[in-house]
Symmetry: C2
Subunit: 192 residues, 2 copies
DNA sequence: TATTTTATCGAACATAATGTATCATAACTT
DNA sequence: AAGTTATGATACATTATGTTCGATAAAATA
């Protein structure tokens, strides 16, 4: 059981960071800003976290893990609907983490996560054809993951004018298109 | 005619910044680091630049403008070959600007530039059908521009194992694929 | 409830970066 | 050769950093 004081301190520090991100942007925030806002002693901060990044990561572990599970659940099909849905349900947090004023910690985390998933998805089919440029495919998987996170950023920054389903649809299309290109499958020919 | 001392100061400050980026990463660099490395007085720095970002932007205006012209020359077809070629010919600079240790100034600049070009490219065809979700198309253009810059980052970070032509090919394909998709939407809306 | 454990605060500290200002000097232009 | 100006050196007040310490309040435990 974690000491109630500890829970309280960590929570208020996390909240202070989030509110500060929305105000002045992650990069401009100092430790001093955070402990002033949270009304917490300087030594107390360092008793819990080493720096800003760690506070953002550990302090919002819950949100991060849940969001991670949303995208990992649909591993086989890589369906991002639950992912975007959960973002929409936590708008303030998402804005702080993925918006333009947010830091790069969570963006990098999810970019790498999605890139891995996309690669895993492709690799199932790679066993068949071996002539693929694996390194270039890695680049492309990473690039697509990056563009999906970028879509997310634009979406939350723009107050989410589309549904989570629409956003997931666009994301899935990107992955499918690369898939079609790599494996020489003509998606268009299927609709004809 | 610009004073020779001014030219010398600006050049050495720019070089100091680039070398520092490769060593410790853009974000960790202080003004103090720069003037120490350049052996330039503190007041001299501020006589020329307001901050790090401005030094990076103005100090390497030449490289930026040339690189910009490379991608703008091929406006009609959006051919990135010259773009990646020029990057390859300035490897150290590119690594400092687009590598993982680099800042976000130039990355943001070229992302926006490419996104605009892509949109301009699409808009030619958009005149025909007006039912297109223009906002979503903007998102996608931005996302694709982001992924192309990400490809660039991975490429330079990986010591450029592919030719500029190959990189341009992949970039162009991404744009073409979205183009095909948009065209697809047009067809569907017409048949309904 | 009484006792022990521990998280927090407040204060102090040395170090470092910031942005500004002044002035003598060296380097440049004309 | 004379006038102009960019630079370096120095100083300054302000702010942030990361660490340490003891007193105190709040928690867990018996």
């Amino acid at each position: 059981m974690i000491d109630r004081r500890v829970q309280k301190t960590r929570k208020i520090l996390s909240q202070a960071l989030v509110s500060l991100i929305l105000e002045k942007g992650y990069d401009a925030i100092t430790i001093q800003d955070i402990i002033d806002r949270a009304n917490v002693g300087r030594s107390t901060f360092y008793a819990h976290f080493e720096n800003k990044d760690q506070l953002l990561l550990v302090g919002n572990e819950n949100f991060r893990h849940i969001l991670k599970s949303k995208v990992e659940d649909g591993e086989l099909t890589i369906d991002f609907e639950f992912f975007f849905q959960h973002v929409a349900e936590n708008y303030d947090l998402a804005l702080a983490f993925f918006g333009k004023k947010g830091g790069h910690v969570l963006i990098d985390f999810f970019r790498d996560l999605i890139a891995d998933l996309v690669m895993k998805h492709y690799k199932i089919q790679l066993q068949v054809s071996e002539k693929i440029q694996l390194k270039m495919l890695n680049y492309q998987a990473d690039a697509i993951a990056t563009s999906i996170i970028r879509l997310l950023t634009l979406w939350v920054e723009d107050q989410m004018p589309f549904s989570a389903k629409e956003m997931a649809g666009v994301s899935n299309k990107m992955i499918k298109q690369l898939e079609a290109e790599v494996f020489n499958i003509k998606v268009v020919s299927q609709t004809h």
